[in-house]
C-alpha cells in the first residue's frame, strides 16, 4: 500500500513569489526573512522524498462558478495547466503545467464516493494559486505528479467545519489504502484570519491576531476538540470575512489525525495576514 510520508498545511500567500524574486529597491523589507522561513519549510517536504502530491486548495472563482458550484471536487486528468490571467496581473504568478497522478485520482474518487462523500470531478481543470503557491514554496521544480482536491470555502452555503475534518480523515484512509508502492505527501492550504474586500483588509497585521494565535495552537497540537468546539460557520465571520478558508486547515488537521503534534511549526506576522506553516510525519521524521 501507499505510504503518507508527510502531511503539510500552509497559508497560500500569493505575494510570496513576487516578493522573493524582486531585487534591489523593489525587494520588500520582509522578503529575506520570509524566504528563510520558506526554505526551512521546503526542506521538511524534501526530506520526506515524496513521489506524489495530493494538493488540497480552493478555486478563487476561476473555473468553478456559481452556476454549477461543487462543494468538494477532485481533479482527474493527466495534466493541469495552472494560474490565471488575473493572478498574473495582480500577483505576477507564472503560468505552469503540472502532471497529474490519474490512477490515484480515480482511487480517491471511487473510495471517496463509497465512504459517503459525493465528490464532484473534473477531467479538465486549470488550477489556481491555492495549489500553485505551495508548489512554488515547497516544490518549485514542479516535477511531481499531483491530485488536486478543491473545497468550497468561498461561495455560501458552505459545508460545516466538521465535514472538512471528516473529509481530511477520509483522505488519509483512502490514500493509505491505495494499492501502490509510491510515497505520498498530502499538502493543503488555507487561511488564518483574513479580510478581503472589507473594512479590515490590508492592516498592519491579520485582522484578528488573537484568533490567529489560538488557531496556530490548535493546528500545532492537533487539538480538534477545542477547534471544533469554537469554530462554526457563523463564528468564522468575526475574525475576518475570508476566514472560512481556515476550514482547509481543519481538513489538514483531519489528515494529520486528532492529537497529532506537528513536527514543524512556523509563523510569520506579515501585513494583512499571519503566515503559518506546519509539517507532520505520520511515520516518524525522516532521518
Amino acid at each position: 500500500m501507499a505510504s503518507i510520508v508527510a502531511v503539510i498545511a500552509s497559508t497560500h500567500h500569493p505575494f510570496y513569489y513576487r516578493a522573493t524574486t524582486a531585487t534591489g529597491a523593489d525587494r520588500p523589507p520582509f522578503a529575506d526573512e520570509w524566504e528563510r522561513k520558506i526554505l526551512a519549510f521546503r526542506e521538511t517536504l524534501t526530506r520526506a522524498n515524496p513521489d506524489v502530491l495530493v494538493m488540497v486548495g480552493s478555486d478563487h472563482f476561476h473555473q468553478l462558478w456559481l452556476d454549477n458550484m461543487p462543494q468538494f471536487l477532485v481533479g482527474k486528468a493527466p495534466f493541469y495547466d495552472a494560474n490565471w490571467y488575473n493572478e498574473e496581473r495582480e500577483f505576477g504568478l507564472p503560468r505552469m503545467l503540472l502532471k497529474g497522478q490519474e490512477d490515484l485520482s480515480a482511487h480517491v474518487l471511487r473510495a471517496g464516493l463509497d465512504a459517503g462523500f459525493d465528490l464532484a470531478f473534473s477531467n479538465e481543470l486549470r488550477i489556481d494559486h491555492s495549489i500553485t503557491c505551495p508548489i512554488i514554496t515547497l516544490r518549485p521544480e514542479a516535477d511531481l505528479p499531483i491530485v488536486p482536491i478543491y473545497t468550497n470555502i468561498f461561495a455560501p452555503p458552505l459545508p460545516q467545519p466538521s465535514r472538512f475534518v471528516k473529509l481530511g480523515e477520509t483522505i488519509r484512509q483512502i490514500v493509505e489504502e491505495w494499492p501502490s508502492h509510491l510515497r505520498v505527501a498530502v499538502i493543503g492550504t488555507g487561511h488564518l484570519s483574513l479580510e478581503l474586500g472589507g473594512p479590515r483588509q490590508f492592516g498592519p497585521h491579520g485582522p484578528d491576531p488573537d484568533f490567529d494565535r489560538r488557531a496556530v495552537e490548535w493546528i500545532a497540537t492537533g487539538d480538534l476538540d477545542n477547534c471544533l468546539r469554537e469554530v462554526t460557520l457563523d463564528s468564522l465571520h468575526s475574525p475576518g470575512n475570508a476566514t472560512h478558508g481556515f476550514m482547509d486547515f481543519m481538513l489538514m488537521m483531519g489528515v494529520a489525525g486528532a492529537g497529532a503534534k506537528a513536527d514543524h511549526v512556523d509563523t510569520l506576522d506579515l501585513f494583512h495576514t499571519m503566515e503559518a506553516y506546519f509539517t507532520w510525519y505520520p511515520n516518524g521524521a525522516p532521518s
Binding site: L66, D67, N86, P156, G197, P199, H237, N241
Partner: protein
Amino acid sequence: MSKYLLDKFLYTVDRDPDLVERYREEPHDLVTWWEAELANAVLNCHTGEATTWLRFTDDERAALIGHDHVRLFELGAHPFLTLTLFIAMFERDNSEPLEYQKAFGARLAHFDMPYPDIAT
C-alpha cells in the same frame, strides 16, 4: 435583488483584459452593453442557449455604473470579486504601495459586523 447577477458581472469583466479597460474608462457604456449582451449568457456552456430572465435592479445598475464599491458591498456583492476587479482598474494610479487597497477598506469603515449577506 440579484446578487448573483452582480457577481456574474464582476466575474466576467475581471477575467477579460479588454472588458476591464472598458469598465474603467466608460462604465455607463460597458454596463449597458454587458446587461444587453452578456447578462443572460450561460457561462461554461456551449453557445446557442441563453437564460431569459436575468436583469439588474436600478440600484444595482447605478452602483456598477458609479464604480460604487461601497454600495456593492452593501448590496451583498461578493467582496473578493469586487476587490479583485477594482484593484485591476485602479491600483495603477497608486502613488505608494497598497494605497488603493487601504483606501478601499477605509471607505467601508462604517460597516459593523455582521456584514451584508453574500449568499446567492
